[in-house]
Amino acid sequence: MSGRLATVGYRIAHAIPVILGVVVVSFLLTRALPGDPAVYFAGPAADEASIAQIRTALGLDKSLPEQFFVYAGDVLSGDLGQSISTGQPVLSDLANRLPASLELTLTALLLSCAIAIPLGVLAATRPGTTVDHLCRVLVTAGVSLPTFFTGVVLIYVFYYLLGIAPSPLGRLDFIYIEPDHVTGFYLIDAAIAGDWETWIGAVKQLILPAITLALFTLAPLARMTRAAMLSALSSDYIRTARAAGLTENKVLFTYAFRNALLPVITTLGMVFSFTLGANVLVEKVFAWPGIGSYAVEALVVSDYAAVQGFVLAMALLFVALNLIIDIAYTLIDPRIGFETR
């Protein structure tokens, strides 16, 4: 067990240089603003004196390494600057909108895991059948679909043609009242309040964007599950298990599937990166009030502090998720941590 703890500690230590790198890159992005940032932040009506004043206030008269330490200190204390368009600190804006994005992303990932993993397993256990071909078509088509286009097509079919889906405008139709803020996840908040009408309303709004994102993430997951399952099934321990007369279910799920799950979990980390990027596009299509559409709105009005805060927040979120996946991996796979390093 101590070996495992050491491995977990090693993984956490390994994340520190990456976090440092992320902060350095986002610092460089803030300093790469077109033109002089002081002139930009001072506004069009500023004269020489007020520009110089702003420059001192922003610390731009200091050397670059000094500026970096000031920036890193600000990030550490949670100060990502002020958004010009909302007038609020960027951090609180992001915190307010993060639950909407997370609710969408997590629902989509759950949905795509629920479809992709069984599909991959079925395709691997029945190679050459209809399921296998369906899997292959889905995998190739899935990676070629632009998320924003899928979203638009789904809106056309389910909102305009069939009239099943509600209008694609945000998290909740205006006829419902927002549930009390507990977690910020409408599904959980509505369930806590026992307001099932609102819950169903929230699900209706959520389902199309979640399907759009899920379709996008389905392909790499199904592909990886199928490949991992195939290689597990052709291994010696499966042959031994079959020779020992274990039932097919026991062989498939206890032996093959558990081993095949490991590469799938690794893929999940990569899929998360795609999902966080695709989130921006899906949120724009469905007017979803998450941090992605916040960043897009900020981009349109050149609100740089907000955009850079968003980029940094997404990167840190992604590093944290990868760390969690790595640690989960260590805990699932008994071989890791016992090997002599």
Binding site: G21, T140, V143, P146, V152, L281, Y304
Partner: protein, 294 residues
């Protein structure tokens, strides 16, 4: 091991390599289909502007929002512009952005990866950290940040797309160079008086090209998606320029009122292009390395 097979292929003259390609193409009609789809894209990109029936930028308010018809195959948009002409003309811009981006990341990634793989040591460690840092960002989000920081132009879309793709190429080249650094043919070339750079560039690096070509093809599709995504959220390409991403964005406003052709055809063209490159990448992989088939 793959060196031995590829070297023997070259020794036996190119005939057997061509025969192998022909054999793979014949046994895999899907790859053949991918190459013919690619030809369609190339024709549209090169001759598109002289083939289309209407000027992609001329608006005609009297003829706005017409559904697809014989005169306007893909209908007309809200300003009365012919959607078919715009979709075809946009091919050149979309392909140019992604080809330029992929070429840039190919070149930079090759140089950095070769250096890291051949000399190793601290320079390898530093470059690896750098690539780790780039990969630590959700890549589309990093591209957004780069474009926002450098300024909202088409060139910056190319640079941003190139930066986020560099780690993939650099890592691939690094691995390929690293395993051959001490191999017999490299040492022999070194012994006969070639400089390090010459050995690296002419003897070792060419071995990395086949897997690189597969990566290029898969990457092109991804670069198109990325560039179109950026212009979809209003970065880079400005209206009224014809570009698939921005056309889907403009068309999305009309989808709720049922004018589907505005967004559908540019989106379909985008899908077609990405699908082509993905199919081609899979096909190339079969030709280059049959073992990697999944």
């Amino acid at each position: 091991m793959s060196d031995a097979t590829s070297n023997s292929l070259h020794v036996k003259s190119n005939d057997s390599a061509l025969a192998h390609v022909a054999y793979v193409l014949k046994s895999n009609p899907i790859t053949m289909l991918a190459f013919s789809m690619f030809a369609v894209l190339i024709v549209a990109a090169v001759f598109g502007p002289s083939l289309v029936p209407y000027d992609p930028l001329t608006s005609n308010a009297a003829n706005a929002l017409q559904p697809p018809s014989l005169a306007h195959w893909f209908g007309t948009d809200n300003l009365g512009r012919d959607v078919f002409s715009r979709v075809v003309v946009a091919t050149r811009l979309d392909l140019a952005i992604s080809v330029a981006a992929v070429a840039l990341s190919f070149a930079i990634g090759s140089v950095l990866g070769s250096i890291a793989g051949y000399w190793g040591g601290w320079i390898d460690a530093v470059l690896n950290r750098l690539f780790d840092t780039i990969m630590a960002f959700p890549l589309f989000v990093l591209a957004m940040g780069i474009v926002a920081a450098l300024g909202n132009t088409v060139e910056n879309i190319v640079y941003a797309t190139a930066v986020i793709n560099i780690p993939f190429y650099a890592r691939l080249v690094r691995a390929e160079v690293n395993i051959r650094r001490e191999s017999g043919f490299a040492l022999a070339a070194k012994l006969s008086g070639n400089s390090d750079i010459r050995v690296l560039a002419l003897h070792i690096f060419p071995n990395a090209l086949p897997p690189m070509m597969v990566q290029v093809s898969l990457n092109l599709g991804w670069a198109i998606l990325n560039a179109a995504g950026l212009s979809f959220i209003g970065l880079g390409v400005r209206p009224p320029t014809a570009e698939w991403g921005i056309m889907v964005a403009e068309g999305a406003n009309f989808i709720v009122s049922g004018e589907w052709w505005l967004a559908f055809f540019p989106g379909f063209a985008l899908m077609f292009a990405v699908f082509t490159f993905n199919l081609m990448g899979d096909g190339l992989r079969d030709i280059v390395d049959p073992r990697q088939r999944t």
